[in-house]
Amino acid sequence: MLVYTVRRIIGAIPVLILASILTFVMIDVSGDPLAEVRMAQPPPSPEVLQQAEERLYLDRSMPERYWLWVTGIGGNGDIGLLQGEFGPSTQGPQYDIGSNIAERLWTTLRLIGAAMVFALGLAIISGVISALRQYSKLDYTLTFVGFLALAMPTFWFAGIMQAAGVKFNQLVGEQVFATIGDGRFRAQGEPLWDQFLNAFAHMALPTIVLMLISFASWSRYQRTSMLEVMNSDYVRLARAKGLRNHTVIRRHALRTALIPLTTVVAIGIAGIIDGAILTEVVFQWRGLGDFFITAVDNNDSYALMGWLLLSGVVVILANLIADLLYAVLDPRIRYE
């Protein structure tokens, strides 16, 4: 397994390099990082603009800039992935891309982590129930809820949830749910319970939005997978041996039925990051999604590259973990 893991990681490096070259070129040709500054009124002096161009390495050719971004050789010490530097930002010399990504990763993980855990749990439960009660009223209801959640655009659904949160608050006469921000400065120094309540107030609505988006597709996969397994020969054999239904489902059917979902969830991590972009914007969380939008707004090439690199690594790692989980879930698979 270790050899397989190392081989997969090494195999991912050329993929990452190729992806980074493509994205670097696309970002580079998409516009002038200093366009907004040049349009400022009154305009900055030519010397200041030249200084800004030099700071952002815009006085170098595109291939040179890519080489700099990877190696940092010939740079000013603020660029070079191999040296742990993500490059200068159009958002000013004081803006450190690396530390911003690290800080915002934590914010996004808080959001995504909770949403994924709840979404996965709900998806498995509802998928299994739907499969076991196929064509029942419960199955139809869960199917309807699933398709409804699938059909709703994230930004719209997020807006609806905000409005619902406000209505609920008005109904109970208290501010149970907050609609904007992660509230990080609101309960500092307060007792632990107050900090928990503050976190709950700010996390609840965005978590529900992200959760339902993922839950919708995952529960469909789980239902289909479960139905397939329930109709397989070995499940019939288990039943014929006289095992209790509960045992058949839990120990024989569910474990196998989880394998396809593992793949879907791994791929879905990329999707949930995309979903987080809109969710973070609507709920004003300063996570990686907001980092991405801010970088686009500011034509911040190196910040965008940092974000894309991180996304690429996350997707590759998630797929690797999915492959490794196959071995755990399916005894027939061995990586040797």
């Binding site: 200084q51 006469g173 921000g181 004003q284």
Partner: protein, 568 residues
């Protein structure tokens, strides 16, 4: 079955307990806790840095974030009058010599005796001198690595003499500055002035350019623990919000509020829910949003005002296009464009009191306003008049196509950024030009600056942002050597007037030169102003007192933050 019901009941009880308990916590911002007076006021974007002098920090959001922190010498009031900050000044600044022919243009500023920074150190003329040096172009040799966003006024200064609380400024030989009083006011590139003694405390020699550069970087990178205003920042960052409390060493009248939280909110779509939910008390967004305005107008405790903002939309023609070099064609194009239709479709619902902009530089409330479009057909949408202009100039219609000597006129590239307002506008312009036989192909761009500087347009709509300080506008918009004169207009007389305006000795003369330049520009049909984009402001009228918008200032509603109070 019993077990399942029991589980569900437990889950419901736990959820209810959390909901009820969190309800007891008092919720988010905007609530008074323990009798303290607190306000939550939104800043409509992320501030790029902790100070506003640099390229990254040069935005109204940084200025608003620093409201109540940064001391300044004066600012324009909502009624377009200028008021010196007599908390900070001992007396109104004195103009020592206003005629550069008789010696250097010179003025002096004296700070109030009791004016101190939040650490108790007195404010001195040295603070002004260092702030001036921090805002100069690096080529001037005072500050290495500094990247001031607008150093023109600072670069005019030759020397600064400091004597305790007084600083005396002399301009370079032959130069004058009609906006001299604004070097350290709320509208300057720094938005005020900085505490020079902190450079020394950190071990930097301000007369060493490299070390002053380090001080500059430090000011922009570090959250200010210092203050020279009624509040000081006690918490926050550049990503989420800042929290301000009273400055204990503020020598002026004590601010009524105990605490102000300023969250950065980039999505106007969230304003209504957050306001109704009591999470925010108000905002003065930078952009117009009809949806938000109409929704807020339905909220009982929301005071909403909409008025002309600083940014004005205009249509420019690229004179580098051979066909468009003909002034009669340009006049016909501008005559066919119906400004009122454009303004009404874009802003009529949220701001029915809109007014068309008939002066490129001065707003209707300015004492220098002159209507330069009176009697002009440009912008009226008068197709008959446009057709007549074209016929007189020898143009003919070949079917639906305008021609000159048998050659088709156009098609032209009609460009703008893809905002809702401009999208609507260019579609209207396209259909209006079609009526005089001109095809305009709409092309949107994400890179306005690049498109303009590369002159990749024939007709373009974009916006300039105005300010009560105007003396550099004519120079920037129309001087033949200006990098912002994108369409390539060139007129020696206008160049001369623009130079005179920027070097006039007082605002009245500068305004006169600027208006004279406009008199020449308008018949040339080079730039057609449409209207100033409205800005809106909303505040919780049940809670807040003394809070209103100031569209003359980058601080907007926060311009008098030290006077904000809670009702009752």
């Amino acid at each position: 079955m019993f077990k399942r019901r029991k589980s569900l009941a437990l889950a419901a009880a736990a959820t209810s307990a959390v909901l009820v308990a969190s309800g007891c916590s008092g919720g988010g911002g905007g609530e008074d806790e323990g009798g303290s007076k607190e306000v939550t006021w939104v800043i409509n974007s992320l501030p790029g840095a902790w100070q506003a002098t640099s390229l990254a920090g040069g935005s109204v959001y940084v200025i608003q974030m620093l409201s109540g922190i940064l001391p300044y010498t004066g600012q324009w009031q909502p009624d377009a009058t200028y008021e010196y900050n007599m908390d900070v000044l001992a007396e109104e600044p004195t103009l020592v010599n206003e005629d550069p022919d008789e010696g250097p243009f010179e003025w002096s500023i004296t700070l109030a005796d009791d004016a101190v920074w939040s650490d108790g150190e007195p404010m001195t003329g040295e603070d002004l001198r260092v702030t001036w040096m921090l805002g100069t172009n690096p080529e001037e040799g005072y500050c290495a690595g500094c990247d001031p966003r607008a150093s023109t006024s600072n670069d005019k200064v030759e020397s600064v003499e400091v004597d305790g609380k007084t600083a005396t400024f002399q301009l370079k030989e032959g130069l004058a500055d009609p906006e001299w009083m604004g070097l350290f006011d709320a509208h300057s590139q720094s938005g005020g002035f900085y505490p020079a003694h902190l450079a020394e405390e950190n071990g930097w020699d301000v007369d060493n350019p490299d070390e002053l550069g380090e001080f500059y970087a430090w000011l922009h990178a570090e959250r200010p623990e210092w203050s020279g205003g009624p509040f000081q920042i006690v918490d926050g960052d550049l990503e989420n919000e800042v929290v301000k409390e009273r400055n204990p060493n503020w020598w002026g009248e004590e601010a009524p509020l105990d605490r102000i939280t300023m969250p950065y909110n980039t999505d106007e779509g969230t304003f209504v829910n957050a306001f109704v939910n009591g999470e925010i008390d108000g905002a003065n967004p930078a952009d117009y949003s009809e949806d938000v305005i109409l929704q807020l107008e339905d909220v009982a405790n929301a005071e909403v005002t909409v008025a002309e903002g600083a940014t004005w939309e205009h249509i420019d023609i690229n004179l580098n296009n051979e066909q468009l070099a003909d002034v009669e064609l340009r006049r016909a194009i501008f005559t066919a464009i119906d400004r009122d239709d454009i303004a009404n479709r874009n802003f009529g619902a949220g701001y029915p009191d809109y007014e068309l902009k008939n002066n490129h530089v001065f707003g209707g409330d300015s004492p220098y306003y002159v209507d330069h479009f009176e009697g002009e057909s440009q912008g009226t949408g008068d197709i008959d008049e446009a057709t007549s202009i074209l016929e007189d100039a020898g143009y003919e219609l070949d079917g639906d196509t305008l021609t000159l000597d048998g050659e088709e006129i156009g098609p032209f590239r009609l460009r703008s950024t893809d905002s809702t307002v401009r999208n609507t506008s260019v579609q209207l312009i396209q259909s209006q030009l079609a009526e005089i036989g001109i095809t305009a192909n709409i092309e949107m761009t994400d890179d306005l600056g690049g498109m303009l500087s590369e002159k990749e347009y024939d007709i373009v709509q974009f916006g300039w942002s105005g300010s009560p300080y105007f003396t550099g506008n004519a120079n920037q918009f129309w001087h033949s050597e200006s990098g912002s004169n994108f369409g390539g207009y060139s007129n020696d007389e206008v160049d001369e007037l623009a130079e005179k305006a920027i070097n006039a000795s007082d605002l009245d003369s500068a305004a006169e030169f600027t208006n004279e330049a406009m008199e020449i520009i308008v018949p040339e049909a080079y730039v057609l102003p449409i209207m100033a984009e409205p800005n809106y402001f909303f505040a919780n009228s049940d809670r807040l007192v003394n809070v209103h918008d100031n569209l003359q200032s980058s601080y907007r509603a926060t311009y008098n933050i030290g006077e904000w109070d809670i009702a009752g």
